[in-house]
């Protein structure tokens, strides 16, 4: 057999021709190692198992379409063609396709991105912003045609006054991630929203894939406005969920979180308003009780006429003092947030007549309540001023006086209780006068009645013991 002599290049060409026939489309199983990305974007690596190592090249155009990253140690199935690289004479596999082994490629991509972003601290609790105090302007990033946007609008319509700004995007298919990321940026920078809902209805892992893209994750992290994610069903977890400031289980749930926050704030205001009113009413009630106690006190009961006068004066005072009128007559469109819970609006945001009726009725009720509070407040505020006037000293200041028979502790109520020639003491505000009685008429005494006066004097005498 005569030996055929080849040029080197010629021999390699012959070998490659033979390989092309036998190994142009082969599957090989192994583990990746030495993965490198050249400046051209091509990937170079080896695949090996216990018995051998094979060099591999994957051109950038194909490698860039992989959803997951080629990493050392990854167990894979490679598909490609064997050839000898002429310049070095080495055998290599030109890789057309890579499939991870034992795990789906999407799952692998998910795990890889998750690990990467977690390593960067993008999921850290310290990064998460709380729900805004008043999320009244709500941005939504989702498909304008999906069920998600209808679900969200339906829930948001429960808050009477709330503005919604939708950034319509495609939520699946090639390029969806770019639209989503861009929409997040535009909404966030617009200054028109307080919070952004990033939502999508349920679907397969493939359908929800855009929400597992790095581009979307980074747009969420960069958003100047807090982002609430609500992607798929409750069991679905996306990278977007991990990066979002707040994770909701579903689109509906995301919207509910917004409404719940507004309702919570409204409740807080209502609760404080109630406590405010209660505190003032309680204080005025205490004053009223003090007046009553004084009115019933023995010292004051000795001045029945004066007391009656004072009571009348108290009533007049109450009518005059405009103290709280301007405070309590302020009209509010809503009464302690009760109204908003009484009606539910349809998505179309009509203004049902029923709502207006309810509002009107509540206004009337509110007015009545206010008027009641006002009346009580006025009476009681007047009462406090009257307290000073009710003290016996103040009565004397006005020129009234108290008179006793000398050596007797019971004040005189009737001229018949003394007689001509008796010595009497008179107490005025400024001091005492001692006098001699020239005479006493019985006529005036009948005003009070001798019998009654005597009884009372006796009773009081007993009380003094």
């Amino acid at each position: 057999m005569s030996a055929q002599i080849f040029g080197v290049g010629e021999l390699i060409r012959q070998v490659n021709a033979a390989l092309a026939g036998a190994f142009s489309g082969v599957w090989v199983r192994g583990e990746l190692s030495g993965v490198k990305t050249a400046s051209s974007g091509h990937r170079y690596f080896q695949i090996k198992d216990a018995e051998g190592t094979l060099s591999c090249a994957m051109w950038a155009a194909r490698a860039d379409r992989l959803r997951f990253k080629l990493t050392d140690g990854l167990a894979v199935l490679l598909y490609g063609s064997l050839e000898v690289y002429p310049q070095r004479g080495s055998l290599q596999l030109i890789v057309a396709e890579v499939r991870p082994e034992g795990i789906g490629e999407l799952q692998l991509a998910f795990e890889q991105l998750k690990a990467k972003l977690q390593g960067e601290g993008l999921f850290a609790a310290e990064r998460k912003r709380p729900m805004p105090a008043l999320p009244l302007r709500v941005g939504i990033v989702t498909s304008p045609a999906g069920a998600a946007v209808r679900d969200v609008l339906k829930v948001l319509s429960r808050w009477e006054r709330l503005s919604v700004l939708l950034a319509p995007v495609r939520v699946q298919g090639r390029g969806a991630e770019g639209e989503i990321a861009q929409a997040l940026g535009r909404l966030g920078r617009s200054g028109l929203v307080d919070v952004i809902l990033l939502v999508r209805g349920g679907g397969s892992l493939e359908d929800l894939w855009a929400f597992n893209e790095e581009m979307v994750a980074r747009a969420i992290a960069a958003s100047p406005v807090p982002v609430i994610s609500g992607v798929g069903h409750e069991v679905d977890v996306s990278i977007a969920d991990f990066v979002a400031d707040i994770r909701a289980a579903t689109p509906t749930h995301a919207a509910e979180l917004v409404v719940a926050q507004l309702e919570r704030q409204e409740r807080r205001v209502a609760e404080q308003s109630l406590r405010l009113r209660t505190a003032l009413e309680r204080r005025l009630e205490r004053l009223r009780l003090r007046v009553e106690v004084l009115a019933g006190a023995r010292g004051l009961s000795r001045f029945p006429v004066r007391l009656r006068e004072l009571r009348e004066r108290l009533t007049r005072l109450a009518a005059l003092a405009p103290l709280l009128r301007r405070v309590v007559t302020a009209r509010h469109r809503r009464l302690d947030g009760l109204v908003s819970r009484l009606y539910r609006w349809p998505v179309r945001f009509g203004a049902p007549r029923r709502r207006e009726l309810v509002t009107a009725r509540l206004s009337v009720a509110a007015e009545r309540l206010r008027a009641l509070v006002q009346r009580r407040a006025l009476v009681l505020a007047g009462a406090e001023r009257t307290l000073a006037a009710l003290s016996p000293m103040a009565v004397l200041q006005r020129g009234y006086s108290i008179t006793w028979n000398e050596g007797c502790e019971v004040p005189l109520r009737s001229p018949s209780e003394t007689a001509a020639g008796s010595r009497i003491r008179t107490r005025l505000a400024g001091g005492e006068i001692r006098s001699l009685v020239l005479g006493s008429g019985g006529v005036q005494g009948s005003l009070f009645g001798t019998q009654g006066t005597g009884d009372r004097g006796q009773r009081e005498g007993n009380g003094d013991d």
Partner: protein, 84 residues
């Protein structure tokens, strides 16, 4: 959406915090009647401010249009969801 600018969440939180403080002081029995009434008036004003802010936004549903003029305000248009 100029009304949105006025709904600063700070001012709501601030007003609510002040209201809570006013209520706490009013509930203190050592405060005199005159001051109590002043506190009450102030509390009513604060509560009203909080309520106003809770309703400070016009109800509307809009969508952000794709094309915004160079350096201009973002453009919006009404949005009505399709019936599903």
């Amino acid at each position: 959406m100029t009304e949105g600018r006025k709904t600063g969440k700070e001012s709501f939180e601030e007003a609510l915090a002040q209201l809570e403080e006013v209520v706490a002081r009013l509930e203190d029995e050592n405060v005199g009647l005159e001051e109590a009434i002043k506190l009450f008036e102030r509390g009513v004003r604060l509560a009203r401010r909080c309520r106003e802010q809770l309703a400070a936004v016009e109800r509307r549903v809009e969508q952000l249009l794709a094309e915004a003029p160079e350096g201009g305000e973002p453009q919006t248009a009404p949005f009505v969801p399709e019936e599903g």
